[in-house]
Amino acid sequence: MPGTDEVRLSAPATTELPRLARLTASGLACRLGFSYDEVEDLRLAIDELCFSLIGTQGRPGVVHLMFTLDDETLEVEGTLESGERGPDPVPSGLSRKILEALVDDHEVRRNGRDQLTFWMRKRRLQLAG
């Protein structure tokens, strides 16, 4: 699609993952002209979503991250392939509330037996000046 870019990377589902995801997402957000405020929100959202996949301690398996950006929107999808059935994703009400404030749309879902997926979209605000 014209004006759309896609970046993919895969990494072990360890505690290093959120940092990697944050850095990649903020680098791409920077290309879109996100403000500091928006980048900070994005970083917090990525942390929260990575937590929904791998917890605070990491899990066995690999996470595939896909970043999609057009002129003003960044979407991030992360899928954990664990090879084992983990607990169902039940984002707490609090987690949903937090993510609602940080990004435009988000979702956490199970994909088949051993895959968990998160998805989020954040749109850049038009600069006032």
């Binding site: 680098g27 920077c30 980048v39 509330k97």
Partner: protein, 240 residues
């Protein structure tokens, strides 16, 4: 005063030393407070600053024609900066990134005020004369920056008022208490000031910049407190 320093240099008399230190404790405390907006407990800073004052008194050479206050200010400020570089970081980040992170804090505040909105990363990079990647790397490094004691006085606040006092008589923590209690008892376990910032961001929908203005603290501080609160909530959620 100079004669006392001469006497100390000649005799090493501990009573003179103590007298000179006590006479300049106000300077040490003043300098410590000037660094208090960077997210360290004021008591810790006063401690660092007082130790530096002792060092300055011991090392001052009255024969060199420099005022002690000038010499001590230089020594104490140097120790305070070193304290931030060496001890303010929970995880070691490259010194250049630590310094850039602190510089960015000032730039974010200045640009936000000038532009009337949050600056872009490109604008921050231009302002601090580094690449956008370096700005992002420094922000990431800032994640490792040790957070303020949440009981410390609000920055720039000589009276030691609490953050909550910036909100006046109204206590918004109570107005959303029910909603928050329903959503998560975990929040209730956080210190009140962390609850307050979470409330303003996620329940009242204020931006980090707006919270910073409202509480009179830097946006970077708000950002760190939010990141820390959410990390604590996640850990608590896993344990519960």
């Amino acid at each position: 005063m100079r004669q006392k320093f001469v006497a100390l240099a000649e005799t090493g008399d501990p009573a003179i030393r103590r007298e000179l230190v006590e006479a300049h404790l106000g300077l040490a405390e003043y300098l410590a407070r000037r660094f208090s907006h960077r997210g360290e407990p004021v008591d810790d800073l006063v401690q660092v600053s007082s130790m530096a004052l002792l060092k300055a008194v011991d090392r001052f050479d009255p024969g060199r024609g420099v005022e002690f206050s000038t010499y001590a200010t230089h020594t104490i400020a140097g120790e305070l900066k070193r304290h931030f570089r060496d001890k303010g970081w929970a995880v070691r980040a490259p010194r250049r990134m630590q310094e850039l992170y602190l510089t960015l804090g000032d730039s974010i505040g200045r640009l936000s005020q000038e532009l009337g909105r949050s600056p872009t990363i490109a604008e921050l990079a231009a302002e601090t004369r580094v690449s956008e990647e370096e700005v992002l790397e420094a922000l990431e490094a800032g994640q490792a920056y040790r957070l303020a004691s949440l009981d410390a006085p609000a920055p720039g606040d000589d009276e030691g008022e609490s953050l909550a006092s910036h909100l006046g008589d109204e206590d918004p923590r109570m107005s959303a208490a029910e909603e928050r209690a329903t959503l998560s008892p975990l929040i209730q376990a956080l210190p009140p000031r962390q609850q307050l910032i979470l409330h303003l961001r996620f329940f009242e929908g204020l931006t980090q910049l707006e919270i910073a203005k409202r509480l009179g603290i830097s946006q970077m501080h708000v950002s760190r407190l939010l990141a820390r609160s959410l990390a604590e909530l996640r850990t608590a959620a896993e344990q519960s």
